[in-house]
């Protein structure tokens, strides 16, 4: 039944987008974190999307987060000798989180999430219509 597959497809999209939103939230929350568990400054987290087969058809596919990557761009250095994490020259490594980029990412993730919710709602109303057939 292909209409029921839409629930799986849209559900996978919602899960993936909320994981992306989670990464964005973590990046924004840690935009100023100079120390993580391994002693270095926080690096921005990125999620990678991959298609995944749903049901038995190859034509339609869902989406999943295949892995969470760390942004390898260089850390920002700011001069602040009074900071406890400052090096010998007085520079502190700040996270490589770009807050503007994260906000854009957040809006995109939230819109995509809404699109998936809508497609699930449409599939639901189609199924309900089908159940009233012949009445």
């Amino acid at each position: 039944m292909s209409l029921l597959n839409i629930f799986d497809i849209a559900g996978s999209g919602m899960t993936a987008q909320s994981q992306r939103l989670n990464a964005v939230a973590s990046n924004i929350a840690n935009a100023e974190s100079t120390v993580t568990s391994d002693g270095t400054a926080y690096r921005a987290k990125l999620v990678e999307f991959m298609t995944v087969q749903v049901g038995d058809t190859k034509a339609a596919s869902g989406v999943k987060v295949s892995r969470v990557l760390e942004d390898n761009s260089p850390l920002k250095k700011i001069y602040n000798p009074a900071h406890p994490q400052a090096d010998q020259l007085g520079y502190v490594s700040m996270p490589n989180v770009n807050v503007v980029e994260e906000m854009v990412n957040m809006m995109s993730a939230s819109r995509s999430y809404q699109n998936n919710v809508d497609s699930m709602n449409v599939a639901k109303s189609m199924l309900i219509k089908t159940l009233t057939l012949g009445q």
Binding site: I6, I9, F49, T57, A59
Partner: protein, 134 residues
């Protein structure tokens, strides 16, 4: 007069089955609107519908059970056979060809087609019951 139930309701059956398949393909485009290198797909509804109608109008068309996955499908339609790649109007850098506005429009249109097919089938059923009850 022989009322051919299958010929009067079979059209709607095929239409509903194919529109729900197309809806699935469009839902997967929406879900993958951010997946790198994903190519937007669509369903060749016209060809699929014509083939389905030809298959069901043949007098020898019988339901066959598939006992081995390697056997060919008789008469049934797999969505994969009719999927076509959609051309993107604006290319994106990550190789994704999903235009979300196009997909949403097609999704809504297809849902309406499905619901109208249901309405037509409902009135067909009402007509038939009226004839049966006299």
């Amino acid at each position: 007069m022989t009322v051919k139930l299958d010929s009067s309701l079979g059209f709607y059956e095929n239409a509903l089955r194919l529109t729900s398949k197309r809806q699935e393909v469009l839902a997967s485009n929406i879900a993958n609107s951010d997946t790198p290198n994903y190519k937007a797909r669509d369903f060749d509804f016209k060809t699929a519908m014509m083939n389905a109608m030809n298959a069901s109008s043949m007098p020898t068309a019988v339901e066959m059970t598939q006992i081995n996955p390697l056997h060919l499908d008789a008469g049934s339609f797999s969505a994969g056979k009719y999927t076509v790649l959609r051309k993107s109007k604006q290319n994106s850098q990550d190789g994704n060809t999903v235009d979300i506005d196009v997909e949403r429009a097609a999704f809504t249109e297809n849902a309406l087609r499905y619901e109208s097919a249901i309405s037509f089938e409902n009135s067909e059923i009402k007509n038939l019951t009226m004839v049966l009850q006299g």
